[in-house]
């Protein structure tokens, strides 16, 4: 039980602190078995592989498209409130975000079909946490500056509140098939077991205070806002009760949720690799085409309606005989009635954040020695395009990444160069441009010592000179055992 507890908290900890989003270094880095997870149609050559549980795939990444930690907390002698005003409120827009996507592999196993050596099957379990919060620009300004002064007449957009997050456990099974010498296709089915989910993504409305038609000022609010949650209240109730068995109860509920005891969903991944010529390959994949049906432990909060108020009013002769002196409370009640705040337990569907990758790669520099030439499985033993990569030490290309986010598609463009040093070491360097950074240089290394495989991939290396000033930083690494023969 102790070990189970520790593992649970490890997963919880990792799930909440290890971040990974665009995996441009891992994509099409086919020497690493985990590249199957970002393209189920990547070319595979091994006979089987097995990830070392829990440490076969860890990634660390954080992203902010606006302010950095250093912008606010550098010990530079500038007044902190001034920094918040000038570097946060004056600069960040409602499309800037703070986001994280994390994955931690629990189990990953792959093997080639005995009767169908062109098929490579893989399955496993991984935990994923995906959270994004857009900067609620107008609400932040309203809180910081208020609706008075220079903000009289300014319409504050309530739709600026936009956030989404979830923690899930994913059980997956994929098939990778070499269809022809040039084409490899892959697909992966996923069962999602949700730990929790929350979203507030379709808010709209405004709040404005202006010179009034009757009174000096009048304030108008139109709101259509909703926060949907599933799986949150169960944890909240346990912590709120604080019975002395909180830790045990949280662990128990978490374990139940990761093992299909919570809300469930289904998703699919697809991918391909296609050789345009012996030296040119295009690839593509679409991941997490799926949804989760949130019907258990649902708690939603709504805030909608519209009203205009200019204070309390006495109009004669209508109110001449009105001796009710509780006009203030009446005003408050009227506003509450016009802007009802409700709770409900209606189920809802949450869509997974779909990701799309695409790449083109040009191989050159014939090296002779094959990296993966001993499969023993008749997959890459032939000549021609199927094994073209084995004969080139260098690869140069570009990749595109797109991810569906609540406020639209988030894209990244990557150029890469890969160099292989015999069977043992392969290095990949990337330069990526996205909304977080224009100076994202990454470096990945794959080391193969006998059957033992280790990889480490680090992004935005320039940021390591002052990590606090980085908009984006990541580290991924993992261990696998890989076999190309009967061992």
């Amino acid at each position: 039980m102790r070990i189970a507890n520790k593992l649970t908290y490890l997963v919880l900890f990792c799930g909440s602190t290890l971040f990974a989003q665009n995996k441009e270094l891992l994509y099409d880095f086919y020497e690493i078995p985990q590249s199957l997870m970002v393209n189920p149609g990547v070319k595979t050559s091994q006979k089987w592989h097995a990830g070392i549980p829990v440490i076969s795939g860890l990634s660390v990444q954080g992203a902010s498209s606006g302010v950095t930690v250093n912008d606010l907390f550098a010990n530079d002698g500038i007044d902190f409130t001034t920094k918040v005003q000038e570097r946060l409120l004056d600069v960040m827009g409602n499309k800037d975000d703070f986001s994280t996507t994390s994955q931690i592999e629990g189990i990953t196993v792959g093997f080639r079909g005995k009767n169908r050596p062109d098929d490579y099957y893989s399955f496993g379990i991984y935990g994923e946490t995906d959270i994004i919060t857009y900067w609620p620009k107008d609400l932040a300004i309203l809180a910081f500056e208020g609706n008075g002064g220079d903000n009289l007449g300014r319409s504050f957009d309530l739709g600026d509140l936009n956030l989404r997050g979830e923690m899930i456990n994913v059980f997956h099974f994929g098939i990778n098939r070499k269809v022809s010498e040039a084409l490899t296709l892959g697909a992966r089915a996923k069962l999602y077991s949700s730990v929790f989910q929350f979203q507030s993504i379709n808010n709209s409305g405004s709040f404005v205070t202006r010179q009034g038609q009757n009174n000096v000022y009048e304030s108008t609010i139109n709101a259509d806002m909703q926060l949907q949650t599933s799986g949150v209240k169960g944890f909240y109730d346990i912590i709120e009760e604080d019975t002395g068995t909180t830790q045990k109860d949280v662990t128990s509920l978490f374990t139940e949720r990761v093992l299909f005891g919570g809300n469930l969903g289904f998703g699919l991944d697809f991918g391909f690799s296609y050789n345009l010529s012996p030296q040119t390959t295009v690839t593509g994949s679409i991941l997490d085409l799926g949804f989760i049906n949130n019907s258990k432990d649902v708690w939603n909060y709504t805030f909608s309606g519209s009203t205009t108020t200019d204070g309390i009013s006495i109009i004669l002769p209508e109110d001449i005989d009105n001796v009710n002196n509780d006009l203030w409370q009446e005003l408050i009640d009227e506003i509450d009635e016009a802007l009802p705040r409700d709770e409900n337990e209606s189920s809802y569907i949450s869509w997974r954040p779909v990701k799309v990758y695409g790449s083109i790669r040009y191989d050159f520099g014939q090296g002779g020695g094959s990296v993966l030439d001993n499969c023993g499985c008749a997959v890459n033993g032939g000549s021609g395009m199927a094994s073209n990569r084995d004969y080139y030490r260098n690869s140069l290309g570009g990749q595109l990444f797109m991810m569906k986010r609540p406020r639209g598609v988030q894209a990244a463009l990557t150029g890469f160069y890969q160099r292989r040093f015999g069977r043992v070491v392969s290095l990949k360097g990337t330069y990526t441009v996205d909304k977080y950074s224009f100076t994202n240089i990454g470096l990945g290394a794959n080391v193969q010592l006998g059957p033992v495989n280790f990889y480490v991939l680090a992004n935005n290396l320039l940021s390591y000179f002052n990590i606090a000033d980085s908009h984006y930083a990541s580290l991924q690494f993992g261990f696998n055992i890989i076999s190309w023969n009967g061992n």
Binding site: V69, N70, L72, F73, A74, N75, F80, T81, V84, L142, A143, F144, E145, G146, N147, G148, G149, N151, L152, T209, G212, N214, N215, V216, Y217, E218, S219, D310, G311, I312, S313, I314, I315, L316, P317, I320, V323, N325, D326, L327, W328, Q329, V447, L449, G450, P451, V452, F454, V456, A458, L461, Y464, F465, N466, I467, A468, D469, L475, F477, F479
Partner: protein, 187 residues
């Protein structure tokens, strides 16, 4: 096999060491600065609106009080608000298109009904210019405690003229408007 494992681990530590010990560094950060954050929004709101037509004033007669009422007003004395109120301005605007000189008293009363402050407005017979008065509270004006302790307002409207004349203006009225802009310290 064991030797290979060792080499892998050495490679791991060398590589990560290179990344994080040789390259990773950060300028000095002072997270205690957040204690210095000052959030002082200015909130604006309409407060109190009073309107009377001339017929109602006449029906009460001349040289008399045609309206007096105490109304609950907890806008400022809610604990959360009262504790954070720093300074502000209440703006009054009065339009009189009746034929009478009028006087309006606004008394600020505490929970026991005791007067804390009074604003008196004497408005010439109409048509007259809009009377505008800005009353400052806080360090540069009246004590902020007046508002923080105000639980109700007593509105008294006196007719200083006769009880029969009628203005030639269309729909003659006395209109009393008020609004406030106050600075609060949220942090």
């Amino acid at each position: 096999m064991l030797s290979a494992m060792k080499r892998v681990f050495y490679s791991v530590f060398l590589f990560t060491g290179f990344l994080f010990l040789a390259q990773s560094c950060t300028e000095e950060q002072d997270f205690d600065q957040i204690d210095d954050l000052s959030i002082t929004p200015t909130l604006a709101s309409g407060l109190f609106y009073f309107e009377s037509d001339e017929a109602t004033i006449n029906s009460a007669g001349g040289l008399t009080t045609f309206y007096s009422q105490e109304v609950n007003f907890d806008a400022f004395n809610e604990q959360y608000v009262a504790e954070r109120l720093i300074e502000g301005v209440i703006t009054y605007e009065i339009d009189n298109t009746t034929s009478k000189e009028l006087r309006i008293f606004i008394d600020f009363l505490d929970e026991a009904g005791q007067p804390l402050d009074r604003e008196v407005f004497t408005i010439e017979a109409g048509p007259s210019d809009t009377v505008v008065r800005e009353v400052v509270y806080g360090p540069d004006g009246k004590p902020i405690d007046i508002l923080a302790n105000t639980s109700s307002l007593r509105v008294t409207a006196n007719n200083l003229g006769d009880g029969s004349s009628v203005s030639s203006a269309e729909d003659p009225k006395i209109i009393f408007r008020s609004g406030a802009q106050f600075v609060f310290r949220l942090k």
